[in-house]
């Protein structure tokens, strides 16, 4: 097969997306009026697919912190921390993350994707084993695959499936890393972390939890699902991103284990890429401060999530298994998902379209993510627009 022939599959996929209407991958926001409202093709549009859980992207203090950092330290770091040195804010952000998670070590990466690649490739090597939840994010799969470890999947959130596979590893269980997410991004369901942590302890394995979508959403301090489940101290490595609840960019890992400090010398996705920019670090630090000092953000987020979930449930839509800020609406098939997504966009509501193979069970979903910044009126409008899909 000639080198470029393989792109014919991607080409067919892309053209298929545009058959029913607008291609969901080509949406352009011409203007943003707020964290929850934008303009698409000249239409005012409610943003219900942004993962902007705490609604901090337009927070005046976060913006001011970013502007001040840019004025004081410039637009970019222009290189990696290993080659070009660190800025004071890198260390300050890491100290604040360690303090939030009440652990001794923290490390900042340039994106959440890089954090997962960086941590997994540093942690794992040939002969090690990974037990990976089957619905884990692509960055977790990619990090595991890049590591040369043997990867075994277990059924999504199925504790028995995990336990059976752990038992099959025999003595290798002590060389095993369990890799799961706190809240899963497609259906908004949470991992049974108490049970998973118990298995990890019993077999002498290690546990990594990606709290990308649960940071700022779950737990009293907002550390994620592990905190909410009371097992934060059983998690060996927590990874996450600044690009959801914190409205910024970048990723992190925190751990009580001092080995994390050594990742800086072996983790290529940390060593060979430019470090987060001054503005990114400043807005992240301010958002972290707000996470700690404004508990009402989380309360409003959950109240909004309950409103939207029950509104859509009352309309008879098939939703994800539990109320969460990610609310997935199951569609009959790919074609109806595309048609409904287009209808919603034309009616001024932007949601995400999730199509197989990137979805659990090969199903098609319209995914809403709710924000603390959504108003009651906006949530009512979203529900009304979904009601119109029922004809």
């Amino acid at each position: 097969m000639p080198l470029l022939e393989k792109f014919s599959v991607a080409g067919q996929l892309k053209s298929g997306l545009g058959h029913v209407g607008k291609d969901p991958t080509s949406v352009v926001f011409e203007k943003l009026n707020s964290a929850t409202e934008g303009v698409v093709e000249g239409r005012t549009t409610i943003l219900a697919g942004t993962n902007n859980y705490l609604g901090l992207t337009f927070d005046p203090d976060c913006i001011a912190a970013g502007v001040a950092a840019m004025q004081a330290f410039g637009t970019g770091t222009t290189g990696s921390r290993m080659a070009n040195g660190s800025y004071a804010a890198h260390g300050a952000l890491e100290a604040e993350l360690a303090d939030l998670f009440q652990c001794t070590n923290a490390m900042v990466f340039s994106t959440g994707y890089a954090a997962n690649l960086g941590v997994l490739t540093a942690l794992l090597g040939k002969g090690d084993a990974v037990l990976l939840d089957s619905d884990a994010h692509a960055s977790l799969y990619d990090g595991c695959r890049m590591s040369d470890a043997d990867i075994y999947r277990f059924k999504h959130n199925d504790v028995q499936s995990l336990e059976k596979r752990m038992a099959r590893l025999g003595d290798r269980a002590r060389r095993c890393l369990i890799v799961v997410e706190g809240m899963y991004s497609v259906l908004g369901d949470c991992a049974p972390l108490k049970e998973i942590a118990e298995i990890k302890e019993r077999f002498g394995a290690r546990l990594l939890v990606d709290e990308a979508h649960s940071l700022g959403v779950y737990g009293e301090r907002g550390c994620g699902v592990a905190e909410a489940e009371g097992v934060l101290d059983k998690v060996d490595f927590t990874v996450g991103t600044f690009s959801k609840s914190l409205g910024s960019m970048g990723g992190f890992c925190v751990s009580e284990n001092d080995v994390l400090g050594l990742f800086r010398y072996v983790s290529r996705p940390f060593m060979f890429t430019a470090s987060p920019s001054p503005a990114v670090m400043a807005t992240t630090r301010e958002a972290l401060k707000q996470l700690r000092t404004r508990p009402e953000l989380k309360e409003t987020l959950w109240s909004n999530a309950r409103k939207l979930y029950s509104g859509l449930q009352d309309l008879g839509f098939e939703l994800g298994p539990e109320v969460s800020p990610v609310i997935a609406v199951r569609c009959k098939d790919r074609k109806s998902a595309l048609a409904h997504w287009n209808q919603l966009l034309e009616a001024g509501v932007y949601v995400n379209m999730m199509l197989p193979p990137a979805t659990p069970g090969g199903a098609s979903f319209l995914r809403c993510s709710i924000s603390a910044a959504h108003t009651a009126e906006q949530i009512n409008t979203i529900i009304e627009r979904f009601a119109e899909l029922k004809g």
Partner: protein, 90 residues
Amino acid sequence: MSNSTEAVGQMLAEILTKYLKNNWADSPSSNKTITPATDMVTELQLDSFQVMEFMLEVEDHYDIAIDLDSLSNIHTITDLAGVVIAAHKD
């Protein structure tokens, strides 16, 4: 279990037939006749997700662990039978 390639291949064909009927009834491949020579990707047009989900069923049926990397070399049921037999010996 009988661990000849033919016997394992036959059993895997049965598991896959049942699995497709139970989980992917709407898929055109759910009604196809599956034999050890069937190519899962080109003939059944299973996507990577479906192949990986099927693999979880196979692991539980034989109580074995199949490394994700092994999947890249599996096309036919017979290929998979070889991986199952090897995993059983480990």
